[in-house]
């Protein structure tokens, strides 16, 4: 039995055996896998989980929302059960330290944890003090503290931030600072809970490759929970997929893709979906892998069954073209009408300048934006963190006063901000939306059946729809929607299945005549719903055009399929599969 708080060099970074856990006050509705017949019915967040992570491994934790990923990470850093309470069975050890006996403070010497929301994981005023805090708590002398802070800041490329206050940092910078604070004690294991969910594609990719570099150079084991698998699958050594609190799959990334194809297509990456629709094997774990497979496919003219190395050789299994064509027809991303009618204008912005207070000085956040959106259009507003997307939406909604330019919004506007929970202040859906107009708004989002429900009991997607109904209520004439419906980063922390529901909701709103503008970092989501993409960069419009054109013409703001095929106008797996099959035939 290892000592309570002494890490062992030879021990695996993380060893979990038969872990079953229930949060305090959880519903007593479902039975754990290990409970004896006739035992109590209890809702378990984790059910009989066994997992071993070797030193120096980078593992990806996949699964739908609420499948137990975050709980597993909390158990590995000691927050479960020491901080959250609840009932727990089984064993968890981190670098040989028994996590069920040692608290999170003791474990912090060997494990670092980075949560989803960077804003709630900083506790100091300046970046340097935040990074130094874990060492200070351990009584490290100032000299070694200063050295450790300097080294971790250099490793994460943030030495220029050390003297800044945390409230002046962007989301991406804050995420790096949180990672630095987790790494400064040189832990054996780092746990990250959806670290890229609030980052733009550039910052997200940078973070993943930074983790890979730390993993390779420092030998840190990494367990990374993510929904956007296409971003990190190529960097992972291994994938652990969870379902309803249990481990459903544990193996190599390429095997995971094959498993997801059969078990849960919501976990497929766009690249894997492209290959599976086009009937190409093996499925690719990333863009580089996909290009290599496609190149070798062309070289061998398609693998043939019976060859000795069939498992490693790409194989064409052409799916019926009709299938891809059918999927193509379902895809809402189509070219927009190039001749908008003047009557159909939903919002018109001319030479818009917005200045916001940035501490000591004011900063031009929007610089001469021109934008016109017509009724029925589905527009994705994209750009890196701080490009001005949210400010543009807030200006359209009248929350921000422009310093120059004209803003016209005809027929009203409903804006759903980044946190739908901010709209929900009462304990009954019907109390939030009273009367006939409230009911009409609930009908638009498909929640008319939930009048008596408590908003807190609704699922994440339902809460978002309820918040949208609250924004719409009274802005509709009869059943007619306002001219413009805008959503700001609606897919944060969403799994692919919920994103698909949102795509359908957006399609429904646009189908009823509203212009829908969505500010998003999620290129795959943008490709799924948008017909037009407006790309902002530092307050100016960089590009404005058809989604297929914009999302296939770059590197960061391009879908995985576009990056694999590099063909103009091909952004979705369905479009790509159709092209590949046509070439094959």
């Amino acid at each position: 039995m290892p000592d309570l708080a002494t890490p062992t060099r030879t021990a695996p970074a993380l060893c979990i055996e038969g872990l079953t856990y229930r949060y305090p006050n959880a519903d007593r509705s479902t039975k754990p896998a290990s409970s004896p017949p006739g035992g109590p019915n209890v809702s378990f967040a984790l059910r009989d989980v066994s997992l071993t992570l070797a030193a120096g491994e980078l593992a990806l934790l996949a699964g739908r929302s609420a499948c137990g990923k975050s709980t597993l990470l909390r158990a590995a850093c000691g927050l479960v059960p020491h901080f959250h309470g609840g009932e727990i069975e089984g064993s968890v050890s981190v670098a040989g330290i028994d996590a069920l006996r040692a608290g999170p403070g003791e474990l912090a010497a060997v494990v670092g944890y980075v949560a989803q929301d960077p804003e709630t994981q900083v506790v100091s005023t300046t970046v340097a003090a935040e990074i130094a805090l874990p060492l200070e708590m351990r009584g490290e002398p100032g000299v070694s503290r200063a050295r450790a802070v300097e080294e971790v800041a250099l490793a994460l490329a943030i030495p220029h931030l050390l003297d800044r206050t945390v409230d002046t940092l962007s989301g991406g910078e804050l995420q790096r600072v949180a990672l630095a604070a987790a790494l400064v004690t040189r832990p054996r294991l780092v746990l990250l809970d959806e670290p890229t969910s609030q980052l733009d594609p550039v910052a997200g990719d940078e973070l993943i490759w930074l983790l890979r570099r730390l993993n390779e150079e420092w030998g840190v084991s990494i367990l990374l929970a993510e929904h956007r698998l296409e971003r990190c699958l190529a960097a992972a050594d291994r994938v652990v997929a969870m379902d309803s609190g249990s481990v459903a799959f544990d193996g190599q990334p390429v095997d995971f893709l094959a498993w997801a194809q059969d078990a849960d297509t919501a976990l497929e990456t766009p690249g894997a979906r492209l290959f599976s629709l086009a009937g190409i094997e093996p499925l690719p774990t990333g863009v580089r892998d996909a290009r290599r497979i496609l190149a070798s496919t062309e070289a061998v003219g398609g693998g043939r069954a019976g060859s000795p190395d069939r498992a490693r050789r790409p194989v064409f299994r052409p799916a019926p073209l009709a299938r891809a064509a059918h999927l193509e027809a379902k895809n809402p991303a189509r070219g927009r009408d190039p001749r908008p009618s003047l009557d159909a204008m939903a919002a018109d912005v001319r030479d818009l300048w917005v200045e916001l207070d940035a501490g000591e000085t004011a900063r031009d956040v929007l610089r001469g934006i021109d934008l016109r959106v017509d009724r029925g259009e589905r527009v994705a507003l994209m750009g890196r963190n701080g490009a001005g997307k949210s400010t543009l939406l807030r200006t359209l909604a009248g929350l921000v006063e422009p310093v120059r330019g004209k803003v016209r919004v005809s027929d009203g506007m409903a804006l759903l901000t980044q946190n739908p929970g901010d709209y929900l202040v009462r304990e009954r859906v019907g109390d939030e939306l009273p009367g006939e107009q409230g009911l009409a708004a609930l009908r638009v989002v498909g929640l008319e059946h939930a009048l008596d429900a408590d908003p807190r009991d609704l699922s994440g997607g339902e809460r978002q729809r309820l918040a949208l109904a609250i924004a719409l209520a009274g802005r509709m004439e009869g059943d007619e929607l306002p001219g413009l419906v805008a959503l700001d980063e609606p897919t944060r922390g969403m799994d692919r299945a919920r994103k698909q529901e949102l795509v359908e909701l957006i399609g429904g709103l646009a189908g009823r005549g509203a212009a829908v503008v969505v500010a998003t970092h999620d290129v795959e989501f943008a490709a799924a719903f948008a017909e037009r993409v407006v790309l902002l960069g530092d307050g100016v419009t960089i590009a404005d055009g058809a989604a297929a054109e914009i999302l296939s013409g770059g590197w960061y703001f391009a879908t995985e399929v576009a990056r694999i095929l590099d063909l103009p106008g091909v952004v979705t797996a369905e479009q790509g599969a159709a092209v590949l099959e046509a070439e094959c035939l």
Partner: protein, 312 residues
Amino acid sequence: MRSPFAYTPRAGPLQAASPAAAVAYLGSLTVVAFLYSNPLVLAATGIAAALAGRLAGADRAVRAAIKLGLAIAVPIVVVNALVVSRGETVLARLGEWPLFGQVDVTAEAIADGCVFGLRAVVVMIAFAVYSACVDPDRVLRALRPIAGRSALTATLISRLVPVAAADAGRLRDAGRLRGPAAAPLGRAALARRLLAGSLDRAVDVASTLELRGYGLDAPRPDCAGCADCAQRSRFDARFYGIGTALLTAAIGAKLLGADAFSAYPTVQVGVATSTLAVSAVVVVAGLGPLARRRRPRRNPARAIRGSEAARA
């Protein structure tokens, strides 16, 4: 939008000084403001605090403190004028008021209220300069070994106050974005939602503190090698010195009668030499954060080349 009172790291003597030295310096100005009622000395203290803020680069904080201080000072003057009927110079007889009785507004009561208000403004400026220039992390670090629980509470508050302010701003925006037919937000609902959100935030921050090892009974760092203790600022002596000198001068001058002021029955403001002298000393103390600008050293080789070129 950042609060004007939020700490902003800048290069300057006041920011570089240890928290204790900064507190000694700004605290001495506050003590003078409470020690004196003479408007001349109070005004001098206000000028000194504002000057200190200006030299430390905290203009925004000073401006905001003056606005906030005036917002507090004006009601003080009004209430004092209505409540106190002493003084010989009656400006207005407002008759019998419920609760107040006979209300006579006198010039003396207004002058007395102005002194109270001026003191509030001065103290507000000194606190604003402290808030904008003294790193709260260093203050907490200094406090932790002495009072761990108080430091923890202060850490939570110092983090949660700006987060709660941001949450309140977001909730207000969401309230404005509610459709006209949605139930109105209402102050009670907003307050309840904000409280619930703050509790969630507090749990998140507490779990982060737990993960950083706040619950550990860590040994105090060895002060021999401790950067914070070993690298005391070279400006500490300056601020301790100014604070001590200021307090000594202020107390000595007060004993010599420099605080001559009485509002009733008629306003009498003493302008003795000692009053003028202490006022001058106080204003000069405001120059404490003045940074000495060094001339950039010239590279001797380049200087020689430059002079040769000039000769040529």
